[in-house]
């Protein structure tokens, strides 16, 4: 009897050692066959039960059964452990290089001027302004006459005009020309939309008119075509305070809440009083730098109260109705916003420029 117990113990010890060293399923299976197979060591013990005295048989039987159970649990544990190890190895093998570049698709970029334009339209929409449209190829009547700029007015020098070769009969009310036909021009500002809108509807008018404008000018700070937004608000009871309020709200929405605005008296034929509008220079925090010529201010737009002559010219009564208007150069605003230092970049359309913005 003690012999048998010893034998069981040593068999178990041997099996443990073998399984601990098992590298894979074949080893585990070999151990199972060796100890628990039909002619396995533990199975043989059970078969040799006949040689054990009957009084010891139940006890011995139990010992063997326990040993078999122990061994079976051990086999299972080993299998699980091996399985996990194998999975682990597989996972290690499949590991990706997460530092390789991802699969991207290049996105296109907006042009800074059209983006500024859209932002401006949105800001003014919130302030209750509708978008109005007008032609870029215009009549003298709407580009100049209706805006207080008759022929031979010296202020026409401020806006050197491109003309087209085409001549057509001008609309009624046009100043007399040589012959019945008049040369078409490229609008020098978005202001003709003011005249067209007011001629087409009674007050109140609350519009912005964005678009391209043209002047015979080309140097470091001028391109022959550029973009403007015209803003016009005509209604009973409007004052210069409303002009300041609208400008200030616009500047803060466009450049940032810390921006300040300043009005300076100036002259435009279609407004009176007229004002140049400066905004504090965001880049230097208004302290003064090279871009703002040390003043801390940047001139960004021209504005004013609508000239009473313009109002009566479109059939409104200037004693009853007042209004304010301003025109913004969008190209310059876009340049200021992005820190673009060369105007020519805007129309070269170099992709290396566009994709930075």
């Amino acid at each position: 009897m003690p012999d048998v117990i010893e034998q069981i113990d040593s068999l178990l010890a041997a099996a443990r050692a073998e399984l601990a060293a098992a590298a894979g399923e074949p080893h585990v299976e070999a151990a199972r066959v060796k100890y628990l197979g039909k002619s396995g060591s533990l199975s043989s013990l059970r078969k040799g039960m006949g040689a054990v005295p009957p009084a010891d048989r139940p006890k011995l039987g139990k010992l063997v059964t326990d040993a078999i159970a122990q061994l079976e649990a051990l086999l299972e544990q080993t299998r699980t452990a091996l399985g996990q190890r194998a999975l682990q190895q597989d996972l290690e093998r499949e590991k990706l290089d997460v530092t390789l570049p991802g699969r991207t698709r290049r996105r296109g970029h907006r042009h800074p001027v059209s983006r500024a334009l859209d932002d401006i339209i949105e800001i003014f929409a919130r302030l209750g302004f509708h978008v109005a449209d007008g032609p870029e190829i215009e009549w003298d009547l709407y580009n100049f006459e209706k805006l207080g700029l008759p022929r031979d007015h010296p202020a026409r020098d401020m806006q050197d005009t491109f003309y087209l070769e085409t001549r057509l009969p001008p609309p009624p009310g046009s100043p007399p020309t040589r012959g019945a036909q008049e040369q078409l021009l490229l609008r020098t500002h978005t202001s003709p939309v003011q005249a067209r809108t007011m001629l087409g509807q009674p007050p109140p008018v609350r519009i912005i008119a964005p678009g391209k404008v043209y002047r015979v000018d080309s140097d470091v700070t001028h391109t022959p075509m550029f973009h403007q937004v015209e803003c016009l608000h005509v209604e009973k009871g409007l004052s210069m305070a409303h002009l300041r309020g609208t400008l200030d709200a616009f500047a803060k929405a466009f450049f940032g809440p810390e921006i300040k605005t300043r009005l300076r008296p100036s002259y435009f034929p279609f407004t009176e009083p007229s004002a140049e509008v400066d905004v504090s220079h965001a880049l230097c925090g208004g302290k003064g730098c090279k871009i703002c010529k040390g003043t801390g201010w940047l001139e960004v737009l021209g504005s004013g109260m609508v000239n009473p002559d313009v109002l009566s010219g479109v059939g409104y009564d200037p004693e009853q109705i007042t209004g304010y208007a301003f025109g913004v150069g969008i190209d310059r605003l876009a340049m200021l916003r992005h820190g673009i230092d060369d105007l020519r970049l805007l129309f070269e359309n170099d992709v290396r420029f566009l994709e930075q913005l």
């Binding site: 907006r110 302030l127 210069m240 009005l263 300076r264 008296p265 009083p273």
Partner: protein, 802 residues
């Protein structure tokens, strides 16, 4: 205009600093745009050249002995325009010139030099660098040059707006400064005219174009250079000193703002001045030496025989003041603005005089200027001002009178301005109260303020003087029923832009004018609107297509090494046709300016990466970008149809139809056009009519429910003639679906080559079948597939494959 602050302070003796003056003027609407400080340190003195001998071995250097009052020094000098005995500026060793140059003892060509003789440019006085500045012979030797010239001074560059011709002078700016500060003006000395006969005759034949003509005579003048401080004052204002008489007229012009002209009275035939229109084709030579052919619209000043000046623009050579002149006829006239503008334009002249007359001068200042200038001529050139004056002024202008209501001032400025303040401000500008009461007062406007004709003009003056900073900030109230509406069109536009960005397209913006040859290269029949006065021929024609711009952009980028390009532009083209959107009436648009959207692609679809890429873009990249765009805009009824499009390659030229109507074209660029624009032949282009897209766009889609029953998937492959378009097969498949079970058809394979017979292709479709109200059975699916098979066979001769 340039304003000497020293001169300004003589006319309005304020105690403010230069900075404060600049700030006050700027905030009152006279913007000080630039500043120049003029000063010369004490180390630069007047010195007499005692001797001048050439330096051996140099072709231009001289060694001079120079007396600077303290002793004689040896100075080497490279200038050529002086001789022994001349008085010149000398910078002593240790002096610093305005350009920062430090003067040291030095050796030039081995010769010792103890200082430097200076030109005007080296002293920062003007751009003149032709030689040394030569000082008058009687100049005090050893005196610091700065003191002799009346320096230091500051010069403001003031931007005077076109409505303020009265401010184009030192007096004009001084009046503003006086109104802003309350410091009274000090008017300059004049030689007032009395009653006496003048030895000349003036006939004004055109009082409309010349409402006033004044003439005074100064006898016994001696023409010569002006004193140094006068010369400096002119130079500071950008005017070249010429001779004392001419300098006096320029000085009076800069001081009072009124243009004057001095004639040599002895060279005026018949001692006569006739103000008249030129005869058509009449010739005269102006002071700039140019012979000019005159028009009958030009106003001239003539003597008994010939024109002697182009009135208000430029004098003539024949009566020019010369060294031998002794009798001066001084003209101070008033010319009508528009006429001067026409003459100046016609002859391409822009002078100090025409600049002012075009803006409108003041008939009263004309008299003051005559008296002041006569006084200045006598001061600078000696001689005697004859007491009489000729004054042709047939219709004196009445004073302008304006009613002003303080309540209106307050209403317009959005802040309370008292009646007292309005009166004080207007009085400070020398307006006179004439009539009325505090609620409503009549004001007489001074003659020089021709811009003040209406109440609003006076309101602006009050606002300007009190400062725009005093106006409060107020946001206008939203009107009743107004909404901050973003139009659905704007939403569609941003959806379209987002789709284009996702397709990798960069947005470009091009000039609306293009070279006409670019338009013709794409369409030989193009008839664009032409610019009459373009800056260059490259900007001669209004674009009738966005393609020239895009193709030039591709070329520009390719030339700079960027090879993979996808770009788009959304903008107007310009057609010489009536605009159908604004057809009639006075507000009609004179040309048709439809918005177009154009795309251009060339290079690779995506750069080569470790996961692939590097393939060249082809027609289907372009088409795919358009399909994405159309989907984003909610446009569903779309067809791409082969079409003839001149500048496109026949292999893929096609037309986009939206709801059955042509909405644009697309395809590969024709090789000939590719050559013209210097872009690769593998360039793909589309141009769409934006309005046609907008008309079919859907800003918001309705919801149709999520399917409740499962779909059945079937794949079908056909062998068909290679020429059969895929679209045709799709149409037949749909036509076979009588029970509307076909939820989706996708074309997933096109194959040519063995085992498919020559001239045939295999096309495979994936079908998704679904019924809205039940689960489809296999039998139903099979029946539909059989129907499709039969239909494709009978309609297109297609055989089911495999």
């Amino acid at each position: 205009m340039k304003i000497s602050v020293r001169w300004l302070r003589e006319l309005c003796p304020v105690t403010l600093s230069d900075d404060e003056i600049a700030q006050r003027l700027t905030l009152a609407g006279l913007e000080v745009e630039g500043r120049e400080s003029r000063s010369i340190g004490p180390g630069v003195v007047a010195a007499r050249v005692v001797s001048r001998t050439p330096v051996a071995g140099s072709d231009h250097l001289s060694v001079c002995q120079v007396d600077d009052g303290a002793g004689t020094h040896q100075v080497v000098c490279g200038a050529q325009n002086y001789a022994a005995g001349d008085v010149v500026p000398m910078a002593r060793p240790g002096a610093t010139l305005p350009n920062g140059m430090q003067i040291k003892q030095a050796k030039l060509r081995g010769v010792e030099s103890n200082g430097m003789l200076c030109s005007q440019r080296e002293l920062g006085l003007s751009d003149d660098h032709a030689g040394l500045m030569i000082l008058p012979p009687q100049t005090l030797i050893g005196a610091p040059l700065g003191e002799l010239l009346g320096l230091p001074d500051t010069v403001f560059e003031i931007n005077v707006t076109p409505n303020r011709p009265d401010a184009l002078s030192h007096l004009g700016i001084a009046r503003e400064l006086s109104a802003l500060t309350g410091v009274p003006l000090r008017l300059p000395q004049t030689a007032p005219a009395g009653e006496a006969k003048v030895p000349a005759h003036v006939h004004d034949e055109d009082p409309e174009r010349c409402p006033r003509y004044l003439a005074r005579v100064i006898e016994g003048v001696k023409v010569g250079p002006s004193p140094l401080p006068v010369q400096e004052r002119l130079r500071a204002c950008g005017v070249r000193p010429i001779s004392n008489v001419v300098d006096a007229t320029n000085l009076a012009l800069l001081e009072l703002g009124h243009p004057l002209h001095g004639f040599d009275l002895d060279r005026l035939a018949g001692e006569k001045i006739i103000v008249r229109r030129a005869a058509e084709g009449e010739l005269m030579t102006t002071l700039d030496g140019k012979e000019r052919k005159l028009s009958a619209d030009d106003l001239v000043i003539a003597d008994a025989e010939k024109p002697v000046a182009l009135a208000g623009v430029m004098g003539g050579q024949t009566s020019e003041v010369s060294d031998s002149t002794t009798r001066i006829l001084l003209e101070s006239a008033m010319f009508e603005a528009a006429g001067i503008r026409r003459t100046a334009r016609r002859h391409g002249l822009h002078t100090e005089a025409s600049h002012r007359f075009e803006r409108g001068m003041d008939e009263k200042t004309a008299a003051l200027a005559a008296d002041r200038c006569a006084e200045l001529i006598a001061q600078l050139a000696g001689g005697r001002v004859l007491p009489g004056v000729i004054d042709r002024y047939p219709a004196p202008l009445p004073q302008t009178q304006v009613w002003v209501r303080p309540a209106r001032v307050s209403a317009l400025l959005g802040t309370d301005v008292s009646a007292r303040e309005v009166e004080q401000r207007l009085s400070s500008l020398q307006l006179e109260p004439l009539d009325g009461n505090p609620e409503r007062r009549l004001w007489g406007v001074p003659s020089w303020r021709r811009d003040l004709t209406r109440e609003i003009d006076c309101i602006e003056e009050v606002a300007r003087l009190r400062g725009y900073d005093s106006i409060p900030i107020e946001i206008p109230k939203a009107g009743v029923g107004e909404t901050a509406a973003v139009l659905p069109q704007a939403r569609v536009k941003s959806a379209a832009r987002a789709a284009l960005a996702a397709a990798g397209c960069d947005e470009v913006l091009n000039y609306s004018f293009v070279p006409e040859r670019d338009l013709l290269a794409l369409d030989p029949a193009a008839k664009p609107l032409r610019v009459a006065n373009p800056l260059t021929v490259e900007q001669g024609a209004m674009r009738t297509s966005l393609w020239p711009g895009l193709l030039r952009n591709l070329g520009h980028n390719l030339a700079r090494g960027t090879r993979d390009l996808k770009i788009y532009e959304l903008g107007r083209i310009y057609l010489p046709l009536p605009d159908p959107r604004h057809p009639d009436g006075p507000l009609a648009w004179p040309a048709w300016e439809p918005d177009h959207l154009a795309l251009a692609m060339t290079g690779r679809r995506a750069p080569k990466g470790w996961t692939g890429g590097g393939e060249a873009v082809d027609f289907y990249d372009l088409k795919g970008a358009l399909e994405d765009l159309l989907e984003a805009m909610g446009i569903s009824e779309v067809a791409f149809v082969p079409a003839q499009v001149a500048p496109l390659h026949p292999v893929s030229a096609s037309e986009l139809r939206v709801a059955g109507r042509r909405a644009g074209v697309l395809g590969q660029l024709h090789p000939t056009a590719a050559q013209h624009f210097e872009v690769p032949p593998q360039t793909f282009l589309a141009e769409l009519n934006w309005q046609a897209l907008l008309d079919q766009a859907t800003a918001l889609h309705g919801f149709h429910g999520v399917p409740k029953f499962p779909a059945v998937a079937r794949d079908l492959a056909f062998v068909v003639d290679a020429a059969v378009p895929a679209e045709k097969m799709l149409q037949e498949i749909r036509a076979a679906d009588g029970k509307r079970l076909l939820e989706q058809v996708s074309l997933f394979d096109v194959y040519r080559g063995a085992p498919v017979p020559e001239g045939k292709k295999s096309v495979a479709f994936g079908l998704s079948l679904r019924a809205a109200d039940r689960t489809l059975t296999d039998g139903e699916a099979d029946a539909l597939c059989a129907g499709i098979r039969d239909r494709l066979k009978s309609a297109l001769g297609a055989e089911i494959r495999g």
